[in-house]
């Protein structure tokens, strides 16, 4: 332990704390900009400068370790003035059009200038040459707004282990960009949007689909259906000032109706469908393995997260045959909407527009993949992020907070609790095991609340095992077998798991990967700012939604039973393969 004084307050913290952490522990806020919780502090922005008695110069609180007997002033004139200078210098180089900027609501630079009481900029900087990069289908980079804090660099390399962005050139010409300042489209980027999620300003944002959606809604010829991913209901409220973890499913449905969608459906329905297909796929691979002893496609990896699929295609082509061939729930939904539902509702699929609301930017990329047209049309037309839906609702003049709770439409709006938990890390695995256990043993999972404790929480890699006993006749070859599973979120963790199974190929049978830290609830399209506390609050809301559902196992969903009876026949049928499954292709690791 280390004893020190901050602003006259006695503080006791562990020896390896930084000044920033010590101050936080006693409720003293030091402004920061480049600092990201949980990652190695970079000390790049110099906003967090504080005064330490006995030191000639100010020090950066985020990188400076505490020392015994240190006396620190975070709010002295010198510290305040230094921060102001730094922020004014940033502003002097910044192409600021706050009134027109996407980030004016949640911009950290703007907020910081306000908090520091900056009312004029005393410096005039020449604005460095800038580039607006609209090459990517998911993201837009506007280097005129970039303040070079390097958060995006850190997230992309440290958390996602992609390393698409880095500082290019030198001095005045420095720009945070892909190699040689090339277009994002031309390099390997998995489109996860984590860079956009951590950027403090409007320098990386999603490509907006709002105008396309409005156009479709305005066109009376079009039948516009909307699906909302499980993670939206636990976060959308934040766009309207509600605290993280507020469940707004009913209000969200009402808002979508007010906006004029012809049918309000749920990606959850497709999540239940995914469990049927992916669970059956796993059982088939296990059967081949245990009975024929010749299955090489184990462990089976999940496939719902498009950033992960991009990552595997570029970085781990050797495991592509192990990834479930199931399309993601978003794409299963699109394919079912434009075939099954179109028939039922007597709508020409050519006149149908499928809009998704996703916590994710990679979903924008996934929707336009050439493989995703099995209905004969682009299965999903437009993808809005949670943030974009928030904006759309505000543009529509809808008083979100005052809305009554609405109900999703039938049949593609019905779902079980198993579908809700697709939103968080460990959830797809738990949902799959609920069904796999019930199908093979005729009994639900042993735990009273149906949860698998070991798979919950924000640990980067989690493992669990379920032993199948008392199996029904058809699955008796699994009697007494232990199914070992692993769960990873954040692509860096996923990479570690893939590297581990290279040396331990038989250890796990099923592996869940979600691209974003925390899973979809922490997606690149979610309201900013997502910290671990926010992640846990959203996960809490998701579990609450799951536990409140009368049905909590995917195979119990009557709408799912109906779609198999009326349309798909059975999981992995010919028709399922045609509409619900896909293929993957090896891509270059580094695209120049």
């Amino acid at each position: 332990m280390c004893k020190l004084t901050i602003n006259g307050k006695q503080v006791n913290v562990s020896d390896n704390s930084t000044i920033l952490e010590a101050a936080k522990s006693v409720g003293i806020k030091i402004p920061t900009l480049c600092y990201l919780e949980g990652l190695t502090p970079m000390g790049a922005c110099r906003v967090c400068m504080v005064e330490v008695e006995g030191r000639a110069t100010l020090v950066a609180a985020c990188t400076t370790p505490v020392q015994e007997e240190m006396v620190i002033h975070t709010n002295s004139r010198k510290a305040r003035e230094s921060r102001k200078v730094v922020v004014e210098l940033l502003l002097s180089e910044h192409e600021g059009d706050c009134q027109l900027c996407e980030r004016s609501d949640d911009c950290e630079l703007r907020q910081l200038a306000l908090e520091l009481g900056i009312r004029e900029v005393r410096y005039q900087g020449e604005k460095p040459p800038a580039m607006l990069d609209t090459s990517s289908v998911a993201l837009i980079r506007d280097s005129a707004k970039c303040i070079k804090c390097r958060r995006c660099v850190q997230v992309c390399s440290e958390v996602q282990r992609v390393g698409a962005l880095s500082a290019q050139f030198r001095g005045y010409h420095t720009t945070i960009a892909p190699a040689f300042n090339d277009a994002l489209e031309s390099i390997t980027c998995v489109q996860c949007g984590q860079c956009a999620a951590v950027c403090p300003v409007g320098a990386i944002i999603e490509t907006s689909h709002i105008e396309f959606v409005l156009k479709a809604l305005d066109n009376p010829q079009k039948h516009v259906v909307v699906q909302t991913a499980p993670a939206i209901r636990a976060a959308l409220g934040e766009c309207f000032g509600l605290p993280p973890g507020t469940l707004v499913t009913g209000k969200m449905v009402s808002a979508l109706r007010e906006l004029g969608f012809d049918a309000v459906f749920d990606t959850n329905f497709a999540a239940d469908l995914t469990i049927m297909e992916e669970g059956t796929e796993l059982l088939t691979r296990l059967r081949n393995h245990f009975i024929l002893g010749q299955e090489t496609r184990l462990p089976q990896f999940t496939s719902c997260s498009p950033g992960w699929i991009n990552y595997a295609e570029h970085y781990f082509p050797e495991i592509l045959d192990k990834i479930s061939t199931c399309k993601s729930p978003q794409q299963m939904f699109g394919a079912m909407a434009k075939t099954y539902y179109a028939q039922k509702a007597n709508v020409d699929p050519a006149d149908m527009v499928v809009v998704s609301v996703m916590p994710c930017t990679a979903k924008k990329f996934e929707a336009v993949r050439p493989e995703m047209r099995s209905s004969g049309y682009q299965d999903v037309d437009y993808v809005l992020t949670t943030r974009e839906l928030g904006d759309l609702i505000k543009m529509g003049g809808v008083d979100f907070i005052a809305l009554p709770d609405g109900e999703m439409d039938s049949p593609l709006g019905l779902s079980t609790g198993a579908a809700d938990i697709f939103a968080n890390t460990g959830g797809v695995m738990e949902a799959a095991l609920r069904t796999v256990h019930a199908v093979t043993t005729g009994r639900s999972l042993a735990s009273e609340d149906l949860h698998i404790e070991a798979l919950a929480g924000l640990e980067g890699v989690k493992t669990a095992s379920v032993t199948l006993s008392g199996t029904v006749d058809a699955w008796s070859f699994l009697e007494g077998k232990e199914v070992k599973v692993a769960v990873a979120h954040g692509l860096g963790n996923a990479a570690s798991v893939v590297e581990y199974i290279r040396d331990h190929p038989a250890e796990f049978q099923f592996i869940e990967v979600m691209t974003c830290p925390g899973g979809c609830i922490g997606g690149g399209g979610q309201p900013r700012f997502t910290t671990d506390a926010v992640r846990l609050a959203r996960i809490g809301a998701i579990y609450q939604e799951d536990e409140g559902k009368p049905l909590r196992q995917s195979h119990d969903n009557p709408a799912i039973q109906q779609i198999y009876a009326e349309f798909l026949e059975k999981p992995l049928s010919h028709k399922s393969h045609e509409l619900l499954h896909t293929t993957y292709a090896k891509k270059e690791k580094v695209t120049p």
């Binding site: 390399s157 290019q168 960009a177 892909p178 190699a179 580094v590």
Partner: protein, 181 residues
């Protein structure tokens, strides 16, 4: 390495020789193997590679990035940070203008500007036809004869702006001959 298979037709220029990428790779791998243990091995690897090839072709940079497990964006970040590194091939003739104090004050700066204007390239760049590269140097040890310009190994002394065309002529003539042949 994976990506190279698709780039078999590509080749790199090295001084006067044309080298196939796949012939260069084993040499680069040797360089990487020698430097791997060193702290910050990226810069030494880049230096040796540039010494070998005269410049740093992008396919080679990708190869280095994969071998050293350093993101390509970071490799590019280092290459673009130091003006010493170049991703375009050197010209057939390298013109170096001395920017040591003596040369600088006695008109080196003006000579450089004139050369840059004449060749339509900046410092560190190469003419489109690959004939000349323009660089600056730090004192060639001929201060008495300032300002000094070196073209390859030839030292040109007391160069004046007005003599630039004349100075380049012999090297240009040779280009003419080549064109005819």
């Amino acid at each position: 390495m994976t990506h190279l298979a698709t780039q078999q037709s590509e080749s790199v220029m090295s001084s006067n020789r044309e080298l196939k990428i796949e012939d260069v790779i084993p040499v680069i791998d040797d360089i990487i193997a020698q430097k791997r243990g060193e702290r910050g091995s990226l810069i030494p690897v880049l230096q040796s590679t540039q010494n070998l090839l005269g410049y740093l072709p992008k396919p080679i940079l990708i190869h280095i990035s994969e071998k050293l497990e350093i993101p390509y964006s970071e490799v590019a970040g280092v290459v673009t940070f130091y003006s010493f590194f170049s991703t375009t091939p050197r010209g057939k003739h390298t013109i170096r203008v001395c920017m040591g104090t003596a040369c600088y004050v006695r008109g080196g700066k003006e000579v450089l500007a004139a050369l840059s204007k004449e060749l339509k390239i900046g410092v560190g760049e190469t003419t489109e036809d690959g004939h000349f590269s323009l660089e600056v140097g730090r004192c060639f040890g001929a201060c008495g004869l300032a300002p000094v310009v070196m073209v390859d190994e030839d030292v040109h002394q007391r160069v004046k702006e007005s003599q630039i065309k004349h100075l380049l002529e012999p090297y240009l003539e040779e280009r003419g001959e080549e064109d005819e042949s």
